[in-house]
Amino acid sequence: MGLLDKLFGGKEKPRADFSKVQSGASSTAPAPAAPTASKRTYTVVSGDSLSKIAKREYGDAQKWTIIYEANRDKISNPDLIHPGQVLTIPSA
């Protein structure tokens, strides 16, 4: 606001509105490769349960669902796993 505007009560010029600006970017270069999630496997032994494995792998028995979800193709009943089953252990 100029001095004359201040003296004579002029209005401040409104700020430009860029709220509707559309923008983007693209490149001839490829995008970086997505990091692959680290996975391990664990072979079930007698006496194991998903919560026991979760406790051992993640330090938290409540995280058994992570193992269950990663192994839905192998586990029909989460309360029933069998010795010798090879389970995928995703990173928590």
Partner: protein
Amino acid sequence: MTRRYWTAAACALTLLTAGACNRDARDTGAGTGTGTATTTPANTVSAGEIRLGNAIGADKRVTNESDDFRPTETIYASVATTGIAPNANLVARWTYQDGQVVSTDSITIAPNSAEYTEFHISNPGGFPAGDYKLEVFMNGQSVGTKDFDVE
């Protein structure tokens, strides 16, 4: 393997005897038997020219270079990069003459060679007339600015 070993050893011996041990060849371990060292490009990428215009081609290069635009034009910036890197982050910050940020855009690329990256802005209601600036950053470092006008 054995043949390569003996070839490299012979090369090294020849170079040492001639008193002209090639530092690059020693560093890269890439003795070819001809005394020519091959260097593997490091994971480095650098930005080159920044060009502005109102159109780009499929190669992401500006086809109609300009630094004066009409309010409803789409403004394109093409940034050349050279080098190889598993990832490089490019940011374009567009600002108005009063310092207002018009737009900030970011893209992460994995350049393999000479590449072009385009940024663009448009305003359906039209850009206010005035002076603008584009500043491009690569991995957090400013790599160039371009001034332009909207009339």
